[in-house]
Amino acid sequence: MHAMTPLHIRDTADANPPVMRRRLGRAVTQWSVTKAEWIKLRSVRVNVIGIAAAAVALVLLGVLFSALAPTDMGPGGTATDSVSLAFGGTSLSQLIIGVLAALFVGSEYASGLIRTTFGAVARRTRVLRAKAIVFGGATALAMTVGSFGAFFAGSAVYSGDLASYSIGDPGVLRALLAAGFYGACVALIGIAVGFLARSTATAIGLLLGLLMLAPLLVDVVPGTVGETLTKILPSNAGQATMSITTPESLLSPLLAFAVLVAWVVGMLAIASVVLRRRDA
């Protein structure tokens, strides 16, 4: 390689003309970034349709499981009561939500839009929080509506022998609200994984691994370690929050809530740290 000497030549004639500008806009705040992400969420049809579809799937599958359940047993023999039948669509809904959340972040990395966003919002964690707020919020709302729909429609068509509950029974309202809460948790984990993976495909792979594959893998871990690991996986903790009766294999609802919160906070914290340090 040849040594290159920089040639520095300065011309002196530069009286800078004054910049004539209007003062547009205001300082960036968490609220303004949240509004921006809300526009982004609403303005792409797949987000709106997808989140609605997750709720609709919850209702339709709940009705289907409740109506078709044999009088003496639930699907696969795991159903213990009418509420668990009504929540038969949870695993499909969580997948839809997780994929949409990963896409909400991953698509910005794919097109390069994320760099435009970070150029406008220098504090990147504000973008992470804004995406979490709008996507988590929309999901919580849709999934809560979906869980109530699934419960009422499912109860209406169920005529089996398993314990049947009404909305006023202990634990039922908690379980219904938990379905919305769990949906939001999956959304937030999906957002965090999206920022960590910076690619939709990788993020979806990681999410499917966590939600679908991990329960199968930790199942083969023997002893109490295996049992504990199984219990604290997000999918199982989520199921625990939505159960009326708590089987041995699941955490108590309260503990399960705490575990889910820990998952969400932990994943978002890791994503925030990485986002601050890494080149965008």
Binding site: S111, G112, G119, A120, A280
Partner: protein, 314 residues
Amino acid sequence: MIEVTSLTKRYGETVAVDDLSFTVRPGIVTGFLGPNGAGKSTTMRMILGLDNPSQGRATVNGRLLAEHGAPLTELGALLEARAIHPQRSARNHLRALAATTAIPDRRVDEVLGIVGLDEVADRAAGAFSLGMGQRLGIASALLGDPETVMLDEPVNGLDPEGIRWIRNLLKELAAEGRTVFVSSHLMSEMALTAEHFIIIGRGRLIADVSAAELAALGPEPQVLVRTPHGDRLRQLLAADGVQVTGDGDRPDVFYVTGIDSDVIGQRLVEGGVELHELTPLQESLEGIFMGLTQDAVQYQSHDARPSTPERRAA
């Protein structure tokens, strides 16, 4: 105003940007030139605060971009063409970006008009051509009415009409007193737009010069003289510093340095020498640029090695 001081970016062993220092001043278009892989985009990403420098700093209008409350109103940048969600309309894309800085929606309509996308503003951006994508990217850069505009290879994918449009737009922005910093790997394009050039190669500064100064960096200007009387030519021009070189192929062609074409013409007429052609030759900015960056070209095909720099009639 962009000020880059000792800016360095290392990726492991590789040094992408190496102790780079320069200032981009307001009121003129500054071209940022270098062969592909010279570190132009990495430098721009550090100016935007996207990549952290390994050393040094880059400030925009006096501060790190992240230290400004509303970065969009300080620096408008275009890094990648088509950095758009394919299913989102151009208008919603800009509205979302504007919302980060509480820029009113009427400014969105305004910039859509400036870049000529108002008629397709409500269509999904996925159907946009590369050129339309570039225009939308420029609309994003202008959204905050920023004091400084930074565009990475903005003419890529544009048709001749679009290229002329960008050229005029850049000059207008500079004439309004803004700082305009535009990267390109094509000197021929920048020569028509920029008044000042920052040339880098392998991450290092090669030249920080005005157009006139860049021209002066080329080889000494020559004058082509065509006459059947070479001996008389040499005789009439003989003086200190004047050199007359014959052309190997054509016996009646001579290259003269060290003397103006006006003076040559005058002497030949006075001496009664038959003259067929008298053409001042000047190295094109493109040729000078190629010469300056020749050592720094990373990926060079063997037959495309710039041999004798092309010259054009001045």
